[in-house]
């Protein structure tokens, strides 16, 4: 198993937003969220995602949704802090994967490091992680198939 569990997933911010924006493909995310809510699947979310969701709520003039979204996260996800270990590992990942015109932002790096430290599969729609080898990266569709 290489210390990694297929039953533990970390959801990137874009996965939540696809569902919150009711975009095409939201149904798959809905299935995923149902599995998490029913405890069939354990899930982690980075504190960075909470920050981003709050920003998106405010920018889309939906501030009133913030308490509900945060409560949903706290009820159903393990909210992972950015610890010194996470920060150090994030620095490594940023240096490793920000070369040759490719970039990894600090939030990308922290989310990647959090997923690595929890031994989880990182679920995302973002192609920024395409070159990452240390963490299993999948879309929700790939994960659920």
């Amino acid at each position: 198993m290489d210390g990694k569990s297929e039953d533990l997933v970390l959801l990137d911010t874009c996965v939540f937003l696809k569902y919150f924006f009711a975009e095409e493909g939201k149904d798959i995310v809905g299935v995923l969220l149902e599995k998490i809510v029913s405890k069939e699947l354990k899930a982690v979310v980075s504190v960075c995602t909470l920050s981003e969701l709050v920003t998106v709520c405010i920018r889309s003039k939906k501030e009133e949704m913030i308490p509900t979204i945060i409560l949903f996260m706290r009820q159903n996800f393990y909210v992972a802090n950015t610890t010194p270990e996470t920060a150090i590992l994030a620095g490594y990942f940023k240096a490793q994967y920000s070369r040759n015109q490719k970039t990894l932002s600090y939030v990308d790096s922290v989310i990647l490091a959090t997923s690595f430290l929890y031994g989880s599969v990182l679920l995302t729609y973002d192609s920024e992680y395409d070159e990452v080898k240390e963490v299993g990266i999948k879309t929700p569709e790939e994960y659920l198939e």
């Binding site: 990137d12 911010t13 874009c14 996965v15 937003l17 696809k18 569902y19 919150f20 924006f21 009711a22 975009e23 939201k26 809905g30 969220l33 149902e34 809510v37 981003e52 920003t55 998106v56 709520c57 889309s60 939906k62 949704m65 509900t68 979204i69 409560l71 949903f72 009820q75 159903n76 970039t103 932002s105 600090y106 939030v107 990308d108 729609y125 973002d126 920024e128």
Partner: protein, 70 residues
């Protein structure tokens, strides 16, 4: 404390509702949020991935300027 224990006869200490004299005590827990309540809760003209990418690139651009790298 002893007086309070005498007044409150907890015949069902696990119950989430009890009455002490004329006072009704209810244990309220915050409602469980269902995923369906959040479907389509936010609006955006851009795709989810683009919104996140732009959000993170805002910081990346600032960081590049601060570190003076290209």
């Amino acid at each position: 404390m002893k007086k309070a224990e005498r007044l409150i006869d907890l015949k069902q200490p696990w119950a989430n509702q009890l009455t002490v004299g004329n006072i009704e005590i209810r244990v309220l827990s915050r409602p469980k949020i269902k995923p369906q309540e959040l479907e389509g809760a936010l609006k955006s003209e851009k795709k989810a991935v683009s919104v996140v990418r732009e959000l993170r690139e805002e910081d990346y651009g600032r960081e590049k300027r601060r570190l003076g790298s290209s």
